[in-house]
Symmetry: C2
Subunit: 336 residues, 2 copies
């Protein structure tokens, strides 16, 4: 796509330096029980332990810290249904600048509370993209704030890539990296970082089969912006932008789709064997690994999975029935 | 108490060497959000990430590895409603010897499955102490196996103490250590280890108010073996032995009791702010810290909490209503 800025590995490496004083170097976990289930070593990059509970703080921090002082002073704004909201709020609070977030009224309570806890002003709107964009335009007009898009933003994409840069430092033996895909900021950053370290690393995106716009966009070679339905993975309902589609296409990223049942099962395995609280969107990448493992279609070698976030309403956990995976035991290795 | 073997700090240090090749050095987590809630640094020793999902593997391994070859070959046995069962099964499997575990028929399914996954023979019985002891006696008679008591056993107590030995290496600034108390193996080992490192460290035991036999035993100066009622903390229903009571009394261990509501709230905070899956029994120690923090009765300085286990049925999590603690955010430090 002509004229669009596509970040590269140098941008990811610069982002890692820029955000080092703000973000956590999250640990990597591995479970002997999960290795046995999948049939090979699986390493989980724990971005649910990142500040704010999601990888989003990496990209938000990189974008906010990159602003010149005069622009920053006017504040930042975004529309977001979830983790970008809290992340941007925290990144703005850390720089001491105001922040406005436009959220749909049906966003998870836990994500709204976290955004407000970081001092941002939450502006509620109807849960449609048109309403979000209209209200955000109004906020930008009224406040003079600069928009930090959740994913269609080079500094955000580069920031998200730093999770994979760290993962590959912590576990250099990883030969494939699997991340969930929504707007493509995390997956795009993942692909840039992984291929910047080693072009032979396989990069896989995972999405719910009901919201498979990334798969269809890559197959069609153009943006497909309609979903078929919805998903328990409420963080994965956005669609690619021209920019993120171009990155994923450039990097030959493969997309694996998973069912709602597979997402819940994968989430249960992460809870039971890793003892980690993750949100359904974070379980999607691991669900793709389990699916590929069962079908014998996993790429060769050790697998890295980005556990993207952990902000889930405890009152709405989907574990009201047996999950079908028995005999899992705890045996967790932690790599700092 | 005359004639009873009370382990000391040298036994804990020897246990640490003996089990080093088998147990995990579990990480220690700290949350800025929880520090703010309690009013000081709180460090969580992650024994829910220990092999088998609980600290119990430390004591079981120490006891099993201490057996001479001929005794070991006949196998080991115990009665246990939960984590000791799986831990002993795993310790026996690691040494390649048989294991029998007598469990009440109403033990949590997740703990029974874990025990069987490690290859132990599970013998179910009525959920009374008399039935457990009778069936165990039968198993010992029939098999020639040696009993490894869940807590009334010097090598088990010494093994449990290694968690605190590690914690104090990882975070030397800790001035008080809080552990849940059931039969007193963990709390006894904790007291021996903490005071072996520094006699000025305050050791606190936590138990549900409905099963406060440890508090009453220490107050009375003799074993009180009746509970008033029951608790969601199903791992804390055992009572002290003469041996563990003697250790707790020797070490001036203070007992804090907490309500069922406080246990569930503490469990929710661990899930929300630390993103860790722990069982209700593990939340009891943190509940005591929150309670003491609110009442201004916390001992001075940084606090260490033993997160004792994470084996909870996902279908039975007690989060069907709001927990009342809002505005928690994720900001986790990991100390390996």
């Amino acid at each position: 796509m002509r004229g669009t800025v596509l970040p590269g590995i140098d941008d990811v490496r610069r982002a890692a330096v820029c955000i080092a004083g703000f973000v956590r170097r999250t640990p990597v976990l591995r479970s002997a029980s999960i290795d046995a289930l999948v049939g090979r070593p699986v390493w989980f990059k724990c971005e649910h332990l990142q500040r704010g509970g999601a990888f989003k703080y990496r990209g938000a921090t990189n974008a906010v810290q990159a602003l010149d002082a005069a622009t920053a002073a006017r504040g930042v704004a975004a529309h977001s249904s979830g983790n970008h909201a809290a992340a941007l709020a925290l990144a703005a609070a850390t720089r001491g600048i105001p922040c406005w977030v436009v959220m749909p009224a049906d966003a998870p309570e836990v994500k709204r509370a976290a955004t407000q806890a970081h001092g941002a002003t939450v502006v509620l709107c109807e849960p449609t993209l048109a309403a979000r964009e209209a209200i955000l335009a109004e906020v930008l007009e009224r406040t003079g704030a600069v928009e930090i898009h959740p994913y269609d933003h080079p500094a955000v994409i580069a920031g998200q890539g730093t999770a994979t840069l760290e993962l590959l430092e912590q576990v250099p033996s990883v030969r494939s990296v699997v991340a969930p895909v929504s707007g493509g900021g995390l997956l795009g950053g993942t692909a840039i970082a992984a291929h910047g370290v080693d072009p032979a690393i396989v990069v896989v995106g995972a999405e719910p089969v009901g919201v498979d716009d990334a798969r269809r966009s890559l197959a069609a070679g153009r943006l497909v912006t309609e979903h078929n339905t919805t998903s328990i993975a409420d963080g994965l309902l956005a669609v690619l932008s021209e920019r993120t589609l171009a990155i994923l296409a450039d990097h030959d990223v493969e997309i694996v789709t998973v069912t709602e049942e597979e997402i819940i099962e994968a989430m249960a395995v992460v809870f039971e064997a890793l003892k980690q609280v993750v949100e359904p969107s974070a379980a999607v990448a691991f669900a793709a690994v389990v699916r590929a493992g069962r079908r014998g279609t996993l790429p060769p070698g050790e697998v890295g999975v980005i556990l993207s976030g952990g902000n889930v309403d405890l009152g709405a956990l989907p574990f009201d029935r047996p999950t079908g995976v028995r005999g899992l035991t705890v045996d967790v290795e932690v790599r700092p």
